[in-house]
Symmetry: C2
């Protein structure tokens, strides 16, 4: 089976590293230089202090005519437009798996509806060290659900037992994405603003109150079936990742663009559609936008 | 004229330094050691790189039977209870001026109503360097208004021209305190949370949006007569103090207790009385409380 991976970021390289051990993998990058390095030198996977080198194919996405059996699109939400605009690169592809945070991309995937379109959420921790090196910092899983068509071609993938890199199939794509979105909408902006590791949201009582206030606003706007389960899920993620810094906090600290548009921006858009003002979500949206502009650095 | 000053913090020492040049001043401190140092060594006032030494009297508040003509109470809101509980120390005093931030103390001052009770707001910047040294970092003024009785004994004070330390008389104590409270309720928690100097709230567009959101919530609950003027006042304070760090940000940075109870805590209490939920004020209240607990330090 041939696997294509669009995007050479942390998640793209992580998927490439694990699937590269089992299948023929090609990584489609934005920059030609990264593709060349991956081809020439191989991909390094770091885990618990050990490093493995995986050889694979790589080429710039802009030059690719993709022929893989399953293609994982791993670019960030804010880079999705460029991928969706290049739909003809996917004309020979039957199965496309989209691994973005947030839900803003879902309605745009209608243009892929003649294929098998699968959406997924990534519960791994991964940091890209350089163009050919990814560190697997948190072992989780990838959950997949069908948006259009059938899952039959990805089921073998889910059935293959790859150590530390398992797949799971979910029935309801919307509940799966909402569950992840809520975790991201609560933990990411709060930790970015308060500059604390995830566990502090549980350990410092007033921060826990802030989580509750924010969750109660999110409840008004997102289609959460089981509110208690959703809350418990947030708490369990804070516990499991207590010492980790959230991706949004790290993006701010390293002066990178965050995913706030895909997360809180999406929630605000839904709120506007429903005529809800969502003051806390709006406030946090502006806070993260301001921190992105570097308001704190140029004092 | 004899002037008493209760409290040996930044504001108490600042008032003592300037009035000590013109009048007989006694500072009533919480700690005996501070009183002794002030008596023995004098009070140092630093301004624009120059230092002046002022000699004055000082004694522990707990041992004082105050006989001054006008007494300034300069302790923080959270230390007011101890002062108000010692009302008999003031039994020979006709004029008491209260210089606290917030408005939580106002209703408690009814027990002083047989005296001339004056409330005031301090628009100076001052930092206490040590027990006998205060730096005057921002030259402003002190505005006074009558709460009970007459202002006649403090008018001569306001009429005396002390360079860099003028007094002004206001008609409406409530509008005067509300105007200051709003400035404190907007600038203090936002700068503390975002960790930026005051001017950034104007310079970073999303932070300006956060100010507007917070102001619109405060409007719902505080008796602001002229909303446009109140907003312009906030903006002008941000401009005038653009490079300064707010007292709340400095309190957090130096792991001191903040005045959040007197500021946002008071607003929340008013909101509860009116049945208003005030999500942003509550959220910020918890944020500052959490930062006080040191949630960020012990990561």
């Amino acid at each position: 089976m041939r696997i294509g991976i669009v995007g050479g970021g942390a998640i793209g390289l992580l998927v490439a590293a694990y699937l590269g051990k089992e299948y023929e993998v090609t990584v489609y990058t934005r920059r030609a230089l990264q593709a060349k390095r991956l081809m020439d030198e191989g991909l390094l996977l770091e885990k618990k202090g050990e490093t493995t080198c995986i050889s694979l194919r790589a080429m710039p996405f802009a030059q690719a005519a993709i022929h893989d059996d399953i293609v994982f699109v791993t670019v960030k939400q804010y880079d999705m437009e460029a991928v969706l605009d290049s739909k003809d690169r996917f004309q020979h592809v039957r199965n496309v798996v989209f691994l973005q945070n947030g839900m803003g991309h879902v309605e745009k995937l209608a243009s892929f509806a003649e294929k098998n379109v699968i959406v997924g959420v990534v519960e791994h921790g991964a940091i890209k060290r350089d163009d050919r090196t990814v560190e697997h910092t948190g072992i989780g899983k990838i959950v997949l659900a069908s948006l259009y068509g059938t899952l039959q071609d990805v089921v073998p993938l889910a059935a293959t037992c790859i150590p530390d890199f398992s797949f799971e199939i979910a029935d309801d794509w919307e509940q799966m994405l909402v569950k992840k979105l809520i975790v991201n909408a609560v933990i990411n902006p709060l930790t970015a603003l308060l500059r604390v590791p995830n566990g502090k949201l549980l350990q410092v009582a007033p921060y826990y109150e802030m989580m509750k206030l924010l969750f109660s606003e999110l409840q008004q706007v997102l289609p959460i079936k089981d509110r208690e389960a959703a809350w418990k899920h947030i708490v369990s993620i804070c516990q499991k990742t207590a010492k980790n810094y959230s991706s949004m906090l790290m993006d701010i600290a390293q002066q990178r663009k965050t995913e706030v548009d895909a997360i809180l921006g999406y929630v605000l858009k839904k709120g506007d559609e429903l005529g809800l003002s969502l003051p806390l979500v709006r406030f946090l949206f502006y806070a993260v936008k301001g921190m992105e502009e570097g308001g704190e650095k140029n004092g």
